[in-house]
Symmetry: C2
DNA sequence: CCATAGTTTGCAAGGATATGCAGAAAGTTG
DNA sequence: CAACTTTCTGCATATCCTTGCAAACTATGG
């Protein structure tokens, strides 16, 4: 039955291990539902599931899990890319990290930092082109700053 | 040049109007970049963009926009589906709406309500199987309650 | 300027997903 | 129960996306 199958579909999606519709077909068959990929495609549309990148392959996620991608690989890459593109300088000052960005991009970069969900980041405050990042200790701040500098340098090369 | 093209790609993605890689190829060509769809595919992987449902078709979004799907069509459908599945009863009491859910699903349903980003919803508090939804007025509460009851009824039919 | 190594791209093939259509199933009405 | 309407599904196919591979391009060191 349709409703029965959908319950199992949601369960499968919830495990976060379905990376293709074929995977889902297999899982559903294992649960006793004889279905084809075409039906799965339609079911997925109905529940609003979408396939997003997770590292190098994909995962199907439900809409309410879309916002929970904090700290994921995707968001960490997003931070790296954002730093490459918009950060001009990164320094540490005691337990703070100060990031200088292209004018007007302070908030955007700070958001990327927040979304990355790094343990070392306690909080951020963004101005127009400057961000203060609070960390637990000067040690942490130094580590973060040097890591982010590396990300940021690559862009400087290209400017030449 | 690669970096130049990527800047334009990000701009295109930001408009939220690219629903296929072919669209993006066209847009890039219009901006003076001779590219093929294969290159676009690789560029998209690099910036971490993913294709998500938007109503009946798709949109390519950047990672940091994934969380901003509040209030979208996707989230509204998600709420409808969630109510169908987990809500047992919906009533209004003055300017509040009270939703009774399957045991343990209070928070999950409340989250779906929040994500839908409805103007009429001022705030929610969730218990194990009960949710209080604050609205601006008894009028709003009544409207919401009846709308959600309709969603919820469909499931009741199937229980028979 | 050449040789070499690394990077980027197009092409073509293959994989994954969406969909028109027609038939099956389920539900409705008289 | 027959006739009809509506919903669901599989099949076959179209569309869309990814990827291996080889060629074109860049960068670097002689």
């Amino acid at each position: 039955m349709r409703s029965d199958r959908r319950r199992d579909l949601l369960r499968i999606l919830h495990t976060g291990k379905a990376s293709s519709q074929k995977d889902i077909v297999d899982a559903l068959r294992a649960a006793g539902h004889e279905v084809t990929q075409a039906t799965v495609s339609r079911d997925l549309r109905e529940v609003g599931a979408t396939k997003i990148r997770s590292g190098d392959d994909f995962v199907y996620l439900l809409p309410d899990e879309l916002g929970r991608t904090h700290g994921s690989d995707l968001m960490i890459r997003n931070l790296e890319r954002t730093l490459e593109e918009f950060s001009l300088d990164v320094r540490s000052a005691h337990s703070l990290v100060i990031v200088l960005t292209a004018p007007g991009h302070g908030s955007a970069v700070a958001r990327a930092i927040d979304l990355a969900g790094l343990d070392d980041v306690v909080g951020t405050v963004a101005g127009d082109d400057t961000i203060f990042v609070a960390t637990p200790s000067p040690d942490h701040a130094a580590r973060l700053a040097s890591s982010w500098s590396r990300d940021q340098e690559r862009d400087q090369e290209e400017e030449k």
